[in-house]
């Protein structure tokens, strides 16, 4: 008796197979969920955090805010940052004179060295995008770019200088053509 009951139950359970077919049949008719990617844009890229980039200053958006303090490099868990400070520019004769005068007066000479970094080497292949560098930057000079199209043929393509990157983006930007030559001559 029990065996028959069980057998009947098995048969009635076969209905679940039809229910499954109904589900797949329904989705077969419904529109697709995939984005045909290269032809259509993705919708979720705006909150993506890509590789690091330098933040420009208030006045000149293409002059890094970075003050070359090296906190980021110290904080980085993967040692992927190297900040190279600028050397003090060679003083002109007039400046030297003024410097000497100031010294005579007992004033402390003002450090004229520009604070922005000479080089800001960033190894994206090591970076784990944790954001520790940004959190520890006293000047707020780092941010994640929204660049999702980072691709390269070799490891070395991911080892780049953020200062150069910034200059490139400046050259690419059409706005303020007058500011561009000034920046390059500075460098």
């Amino acid at each position: 008796m029990n065996a028959i009951k069980e057998a009947l139950k098995n048969v009635s359970d076969l209905w679940s197979l039809m229910v499954g077919l109904k589900v797949t049949g329904r989705y077969f008719r419904e529109p697709q969920r995939t984005v045909r990617y290269p032809w259509k844009a993705l919708s979720n890229t705006d909150t993506y955090k890509g590789h690091l980039e330098l933040v420009g200053g208030m006045k000149d958006p293409f002059k890094p805010r970075c003050i070359s303090c090296g906190m980021c490099a110290l904080a980085c868990p993967s040692n992927c940052l190297t900040v190279v400070k600028r050397k003090a520019p060679k003083p002109t004769p007039e400046e030297e004179k003024a410097l000497a005068e100031a010294k005579e007066r007992g004033e402390k000479p003002k450090d004229k060295t520009p604070k922005d970094p000479e080089k800001f080497i960033y190894d994206f292949s090591l970076c784990s995008l944790c954001g520790t560098c940004m959190e520890n930057c006293p000047a707020g000079a780092l941010q994640f770019s929204g660049n999702i199209y980072m691709a390269g043929y070799s490891r070395n393509d991911f080892l780049f200088d953020l200062v150069v990157k910034m200059r490139e983006s400046e050259a690419a930007s059409p706005a303020e053509p007058a500011a561009a030559p000034a920046a390059t001559s500075e460098a």
């Binding site: 589900v23 797949t24 989705y27 697709q32 969920r33 045909r36």
Partner: protein, 327 residues
């Protein structure tokens, strides 16, 4: 006899061409349907809606290097894919696509199909055995147990229909049915139809009965080691087998080429495609059964049911003969 010979020759050529074509089309259909079920587009880059994708895949398969694992049996290893493909070509010969449109009009067409269909399992066994791979061996063992088991209910359900029709010639069976669905054998033999479909899934190793190649257990089962066209032939044979079992089902149960308004071959192709689509849907909906369950379904359910069905059918056929009532 020369006329008959030429007919078979033309038939063979047509079959060889159409099997290749069907293979390509089925790959595309399967991938497209699977894609849409899974709410993605499927292939769509190569050609309009990706119709040329199977062709590109076939070219890739042909271009790939064929290699053989160390310690494999070279003769059996290469014989297996060929052996899986050749019998399938023969299976197409007695299929009645339209009225009189068949390559080989013989009285024992059904028997020929069943006999040669049994041969495919040999190729799976050889492929799995000869590739000197443990997964291949397990897959081959599964394939044999499964095919041998499922052939019996398949045979019994087919026999029930041929009892009613009184013939083993597929064309005769089709002619015995009428134009409208209620004249088809499925109305008198629904149980045989169900048994046939389930056994056909088992016989062609289609999901949910794709045990010999269950990739989550046996990586790829019997064809684990095959590359390039070796794999391609197994693949093609699988689709060709599908077409054959669906065609037989159409001829036996769904009235073959018979149907209103449209010409016969169109009806035939339509019905076969519908069955194939059903099989594709099965594959993309259900999980795989376990091996012992597979055999349980066969020996404990399909077999007794098929035997009962056959007994009942023969009883009614005899009864009808005595009372001279056509039913």
């Amino acid at each position: 006899m020369p006329a008959e010979f030429i007919r078979i020759l033309i038939g063979l050529v047509a079959v060889a061409v159409s099997v290749g074509l069907i293979g390509l089309v089925m790959v595309w259909v399967e991938r497209k349907v699977a894609g849409h079920i899974q709410r993605r587009p499927g292939p769509y880059e190569v050609g309009p809606n990706g119709v040329l994708q199977p062709l590109a895949d076939a070219l890739k398969l042909v271009g790939k290097q064929l290699f053989m694992p160390d310690g494999a049996d070279p003769i059996l290893y290469w014989l297996a894919p060929v052996l899986s493909f050749i019998p399938v070509l023969l299976l197409f010969l007695p299929l009645p696509v339209g009225d009189g449109l068949m390559a080989l009009d013989i009285n024992l067409g059904l028997l020929l199909i069943l006999a040669f269909a049994g041969l495919t399992v040999l190729s799976l066994l050889l492929g799995g055995w000869a590739s000197n791979n443990k997964y291949g061996l397990l897959g081959a063992a599964r394939a044999v147990a499964q095919s041998v088991a499922y052939e019996i209910p398949l045979l019994l359900s087919v026999l029930a229909v041929s009892f009613v029709a009184g013939s083993l010639n597929l064309a005769e069976v089709v002619k015995g049915q009428g134009t409208w669905p209620w004249n088809w054998n499925i109305m008198t033999q629904p149980l045989a139809f169900l048994i046939y479909i389930v056994s056909a899934l088992g016989e062609t190793n289609r999901a949910p009965f794709d045990l010999p190649e269950a990739e989550s257990e046996l990586t790829a089962g019997f064809h684990t080691e095959y590359s390039g066209m070796g794999f391609g032939l197994f693949f093609l044979a699988e689709y060709a087998n599908m077409v054959v079992v669906c065609s037989v089902a159409t001829a036996l149960f769904l009235g073959g080429w018979q149907g209103p308004v449209l010409p016969g071959p169109v009806w035939f192709v339509l019905k076969v495609s519908l069955l194939m689509l059903l099989m594709v849907f099965f594959r993309w909906t259900y999980p795989r059964v376990r091996f012992d369950q597979l055999l349980t379904i066969n020996w404990k359910w399909l077999m007794p049911l098929a035997v009962l069905n056959l007994l009942a059918t023969s009883f009614f056929v005899k009864l009808a003969q005595f009372t001279e009532v056509r039913w």
